[in-house]
C-alpha cells in the first residue's frame, strides 16, 4: 500500500475543518492525522505527528498563521505549509510569500483546486495564485536589472566599504585598522560579501567590484 500524504488541518472555524475533512476523506491518497484551531496547538501537533503537509488559515486567535509559519521556518521543521485563506489582500499575500509558504490557496476557489494543491505541495512544488507568480517574476527581473546595473546592489554600506578596500589590495589587518574594526569583524563582513556576491575569494570579489565601477563610468 502506497503511503498516503499525511496532513494536519488548522482553522479556527469548526465548520471549515469539518468541510475540509469531508472532502479529504473522499480521496485515497490524503490522510488527515490531526485538526487544530490555533497556532500553538498546530506547532505541538507537528512535533507529535510529523505530517507531510500542514494546511492552515491565517486568522486564528492567539498565535496566527503568520506567526506559525515564521516559527516553522525558524525551527527548520521539515513540513510543507499550504496556506488556505479568505484573505485576498495584497499585503497579506506578499507577507505569506515572504514567510516562505509552499502554497497559497484562496478559500473562494473550488475544493478540487485545494486538493490538487495539497498533492503538488507534498510533491515539492510551490503553488501560488497566478497574481502572486506575476509579482515574483516582476520582482526577480527588477532584481536582475539592479544587479546588472550594480553588482554590489545587495551589499550593505559597511560591506561595500570593506569590498572597496579589498579591491585596493589591502589585507584584512590593514582594513581593520583603517576602519577601526577588529580583524574578526572584517572577516565576518567578508564572509557576508562572498556569500552575497556568490564568490569564494577576495580576487573574485574585487573583480566584481571593479566591473561595477566600470559600468558606472
Amino acid at each position: 500500500m502506497v503511503k498516503r500524504i499525511q496532513v494536519i488541518l488548522a482553522d479556527d472555524h469548526a465548520l471549515v475543518l469539518d468541510g475540509l475533512k469531508l472532502h479529504l476523506a473522499d480521496t485515497s491518497d490524503i490522510e488527515v492525522v490531526a485538526t487544530v484551531n490555533n497556532g500553538e496547538a498546530l506547532l505541538s501537533a507537528i512535533e507529535i505527528h510529523r505530517p507531510d503537509v500542514v494546511i492552515t488559515d491565517l486568522m486564528m486567535a492567539g498565535m496566527d498563521g503568520f506567526a506559525v509559519l515564521e516559527q516553522i521556518r525558524q525551527r527548520n521543521l521539515p513540513v510543507r505549509v499550504l496556506v488556505l485563506t479568505a484573505l485576498a489582500d495584497g499585503q497579506a499575500l506578499q507577507r505569506v510569500v515572504e514567510l516562505e509558504a509552499d502554497g497559497i490557496v484562496l478559500k473562494t476557489e473550488p475544493s478540487r483546486q485545494m486538493i490538487e494543491a495539497i498533492r503538488q505541495v507534498a510533491g515539492g512544488q510551490v503553488v501560488y495564485p497566478r497574481a502572486v507568480h506575476n509579482w515574483l517574476l516582476r520582482r526577480a527581473s527588477r532584481h536582475q536589472a539592479a544587479i546588472d546595473t550594480d553588482p554590489t546592489h545587495t551589499l550593505s554600506d559597511r560591506e561595500k566599504e570593506v569590498l572597496a578596500h579589498i579591491a585596493q589590495g589591502k589585507t584584512n589587518q590593514e582594513i581593520a585598522s583603517t576602519l577601526h574594526l577588529s580583524e574578526n569583524t572584517v572577516k565576518y563582513y567578508l564572509k557576508n560579501v562572498y556569500q552575497k556576491l556568490q564568490v569564494h575569494n577576495r580576487t573574485e570579489a574585487a573583480r566584481i567590484y571593479l566591473q561595477g565601477k566600470e559600468t558606472e563610468s
Binding site: 479568505a86 484573505l87 495584497g90 499585503q91 499575500l93 506578499q94 497574481a131 536589472a145
Partner: protein
C-alpha cells in the same frame, strides 16, 4: 518659488491645522490683479477647484483670511474645518497669526509671487484611511459575526437532528433525511457567504503605508486586483523609485485602485497597464487600457463636472491635486483610456 520658502509656508499651515484643529488649510498666492477676497467668498469658482470640491465648501466651514502686501491682497489663507459651525475667537486669532507669519516670510523671502496653491491638508488623507478602517471593522464586527453565530447554531441543530433521527425511526427516515439535507444546505450557504465577505473585505484593508515602500504597496494592490478580477496587469516600474511621504503613497495607491477598477468596470478589458517612474523629484504614474474608451468629462475650470457618475474621476483628480500634483485623463471612444498623474516626491 524657492523650496525653502515653500516648506516654510507648509510648516506654518501644518502648525495652524494642528492648533486650530482644522481639516485643511490652503494658501493661495494671487497675482494682485486677479483675485480679491470678496470673489473667494463665493468659493467653488476659484482655480483651486480640486481642493474646494473635495470638501464641498460653503461657509461657515471655511474661514478666509486675506493677506496683504504693499496695500493689495497678495494672498488668501483659507482654512477648512469639517462640520464647523462657528469659528471661536481663539481659532480666528491663530489664523490671523498664521497669516501674519506668512506675510513676514513673504516680505523677507522671494518677491516673485505667481499664481500658486500651497495646501497643507495631510489630515484628510490619513483621516479617510482611518474612516475606511472603521467601516471595514464595522462590517466585520456586525454582519459577519452574526452569520458566524448562525452557522454555529446550525451546526448544533444538525447534531440535534442526528439524535432525533436515532429515536424516531418508526416514522420512517424520510422527514429526518430531508431535514438534515436542508440544514446542511443552509450551513454551506452561510459558510460560503461568510468566506466571500471576508475575501471582499480583505481587499479594502489598507496596507501599512508608513512602513512599506511605495513600490511594494502598489505591487500588493496589483496582486489583489488580479486575484479579485482575473484581469492581467502589466506593471513596469523604473529602477529607482525614491522614498515618498505617506500622503503621497496613499494618494497614488487610491488613484491606482480607482483607475484599475474603472478600467475593468467601464473599459470592458481584462488587460491593463501600469507605469511608474521618477524624474526630477516627481513621481509619474500612468494607468492605461486599450478598451472601449469614452469621452471624458471636463475635470478642470468652471465647467468641471459635478455629476454623481463621475465621482470616481473627481476623486482621483482631487487626490492628485491635494498632494500638489496633476491629473490628466486622455480617452476617446474606441481608443482606450490613459490616466496620467504626476506628484511631487515630498508632500
Amino acid at each position: 518659488m524657492p523650496q525653502q520658502l515653500f516648506r516654510a509656508y507648509e510648516a506654518v499651515l501644518q502648525s495652524l491645522i494642528d492648533h486650530a484643529q482644522a481639516t485643511a488649510a490652503v494658501l493661495m498666492l494671487a497675482d494682485s490683479a486677479v483675485e480679491t477676497p470678496h470673489i473667494l467668498t463665493q468659493v467653488g469658482r476659484l482655480t483651486s477647484t480640486g481642493w474646494v470640491r473635495l470638501i464641498e465648501i460653503s461657509p461657515p466651514d471655511v474661514f478666509i483670511q486675506p493677506l496683504a502686501s504693499q496695500g493689495t491682497t497678495a494672498a488668501l489663507l483659507a482654512v477648512h474645518s469639517a462640520g464647523q459651525r462657528q469659528w471661536s475667537p481663539t481659532q480666528q486669532c491663530l489664523i490671523r497669526a498664521a497669516a501674519q507669519t506668512i506675510e513676514n516670510l513673504s516680505r523677507d523671502g522671494n518677491r516673485e509671487l505667481d499664481w500658486h496653491q500651497i495646501t497643507a491638508s495631510r489630515r484628510i488623507l490619513p483621516v479617510t484611511e482611518e474612516e475606511l478602517c472603521r467601516i471595514v471593522l464595522d462590517i466585520h464586527d456586525g454582519p459577519v459575526q452574526k452569520m458566524y453565530a448562525a452557522v454555529h447554531r446550525l451546526s448544533h441543530l444538525q447534531h440535534l437532528a442526528e439524535r432525533l433521527a436515532v429515536t424516531a425511526t418508526e416514522d420512517g427516515d424520510e422527514p429526518i433525511a430531508t431535514y438534515r439535507e436542508n440544514l446542511q444546505e443552509v450551513g454551506w450557504l452561510l459558510e460560503t457567504a461568510l468566506t466571500e465577505i471576508r475575501t471582499f473585505l480583505g481587499t479594502f484593508h489598507p496596507p501599512e503605508f508608513k512602513q512599506r515602500p511605495l513600490l511594494d504597496i502598489l505591487e500588493g494592490l496589483i496582486i489583489q486586483h488580479e486575484t479579485m478580477t482575473q484581469a492581467i496587469v502589466h506593471f513596469e516600474a523604473g529602477s529607482t523609485i525614491p522614498e515618498v511621504d505617506v500622503p503621497i503613497k496613499i494618494a497614488l495607491y487610491r488613484i491606482v485602485q480607482q483607475a484599475l477598477t474603472n478600467g475593468i468596470r467601464h473599459g470592458g478589458v481584462n488587460e491593463q497597464f501600469v507605469y511608474l517612474w521618477s524624474h526630477q523629484d516627481h513621481i509619474h504614474l500612468e494607468v492605461v487600457d486599450y478598451g472601449k474608451g469614452f469621452t471624458p468629462p471636463s475635470l478642470a475650470g468652471p465647467s468641471a463636472t459635478e455629476r454623481n457618475e463621475h465621482i470616481g474621476l473627481r476623486g482621483m483628480r482631487d487626490r492628485a491635486q491635494l498632494v500638489g500634483g496633476t491629473f490628466d485623463l486622455v480617452s476617446r471612444p474606441g481608443e482606450g483610456t490613459r490616466i496620467k498623474v504626476r506628484v511631487p516626491c515630498y508632500g
